[in-house]
Symmetry: C2
Amino acid sequence: MVRDVSILTEADLRQVVRLDPDAVEMVERAFAALASGKVVMPPILSMAIPEANGEVDVKTAYIPGFDGFAIKVSPGFFDNPKIGLPSLNGLMILFSAKTGLVEALLLDNGYLTDVRTAAAGAVAAKHLAPSRVRTAGVIGTGAQARLQLQAAHLVRPFEHALVWGRDAARAAACASDLQSSLGIPVRAEPDAARLVAESQLVVTTTPAEEPVLKSAWLHPGLHVTAMGSDQAGKNEIEPGALAACDLYVADRASQCEILGELRSAIAAGIWTRGAPPELGDIVAGTRTGRTSDDQVTICDLTGTGAQDTAIATQALAAARRAGIGSTIAT
Amino acid sequence: MVRDVSILTEADLRQVVRLDPDAVEMVERAFAALASGKVVMPPILSMAIPEANGEVDVKTAYIPGFDGFAIKVSPGFFDNPKIGLPSLNGLMILFSAKTGLVEALLLDNGYLTDVRTAAAGAVAAKHLAPSRVRTAGVIGTGAQARLQLQAAHLVRPFEHALVWGRDAARAAACASDLQSSLGIPVRAEPDAARLVAESQLVVTTTPAEEPVLKSAWLHPGLHVTAMGSDQAGKNEIEPGALAACDLYVADRASQCEILGELRSAIAAGIWTRGAPPELGDIVAGTRTGRTSDDQVTICDLTGTGAQDTAIATQALAAARRAGIGSTIAT
């Protein structure tokens, strides 16, 4: 029996999926579903290819109520820039949750991951940041530094932003890009401590293996989203901060324990609060989030297959509405 | 940067990949590589979707010396036949092992899995069956029952074959199909014990959860390949047989312990030999295989990502040589 499978390229997907309130809402729905306990989300499949300084991760999740489930394959080959290729790539495959048949191949080269990762930052800021954010800071100067502040601005329309990076020129470029895209003053701040002191919302977006945000820098009325750590060995937030803050929230506790900031806090013997609340619990209202604007909150994002299923579902629906993409008979 | 990705449909793949000596040799190479200890093969990612009586497995392996690595996604949705769809589906994605970029999408609907699974049966028979097989028997009447005997016939050109199935009509149909494809007499045998008694090579190809081959049926000069069990809960061979035979070989010990016949033998407390040899060890000559035609040997096949990488590599190379398939610019 011949069936049509949709094929969407990165160019197609950039036309129909953007980092906008729709994407944030879709990812928020995925987090709420995670809290229901009915999502099936297996541990990440991860394979290292040491000869090529590469790795590949596979994530998936089934979310009841979604027509499909995505399987995402994310290769990271870190010598690629030497030969003019991007380090990160990948694609998503969307399957029917009723029949398991392939519905669509989303050849996004990591674009949908960028969007769904930033959208999770917006969900964290929406539910955990103080009600009023005047200044937002970002630590890191890469693609996610830009996207995370754009995402946060959708839910907390701050008036100023600050950027810190190890490389001053890259920090200046990032600040300039953000000033253009957000239409607000954005300053490269050479002192990370000062960036945190001036901000009510800080997002860390680095692959740091030594903390870039110190426990002593926490101050009343601060929310921190740490999205850089997604592997054992990475650590952006000084472990003491997780014990010192009023509320630490994991995107998925079982992942953060082995891949996120929580791993370092457990390893340091500093984490004594047991299973932390998850972002989905806060979204769904089953666990208590921030209870006053003076509290200090931290959200640890390692990236979930549920976000992938959400963004892939949105992408296919939007492409079909717009009549974009091609099909192949299989 | 725009790159071309190859797309091969099931129809394309059926033109260029067949169950033939080339496929057997490619899969044999993959097993030999497994013995080198340099293959990276993570545990299978498995997700159940109980609402739809479905499951999905993801397998992969990196084999040094192969240009690419495959990631295979295999959904099994067991209510599909009620609506006229096949239970098993899936696709493979071939990535460059140097850059992680997507090389090809192999929309095979499980065809390549059928071939590489049967080819593994041929590798097992080649290295473990007695040197002369006059009669081969198959337990089970599905697609793999047909393919496994075709595969075994490539390496042990037996003169007669026997088929046993719970359903006599299906057994007769399978025997008739095999008689046509192999060009030898093939008989549906209603007594499984008699089938084993008359055969020097038996392949079990069922999803049985209670043994279909009894320990008491083993006889000198018998080789059994059990390829049906690929999940905890399945069991084709009475556990005592694994302890009673002269040589038990796993395709991958770490998988057979949890998904194969070895699982049941361990659970029954009958397995006391420690880590079994793997098929790749026998192929590579690092462990001893059958040492006389009178021995009784058993090979337990659960299916490895290394086989997927091997067959996907062969498929893309053959398609390029033949100028078959389409491409999409990404």
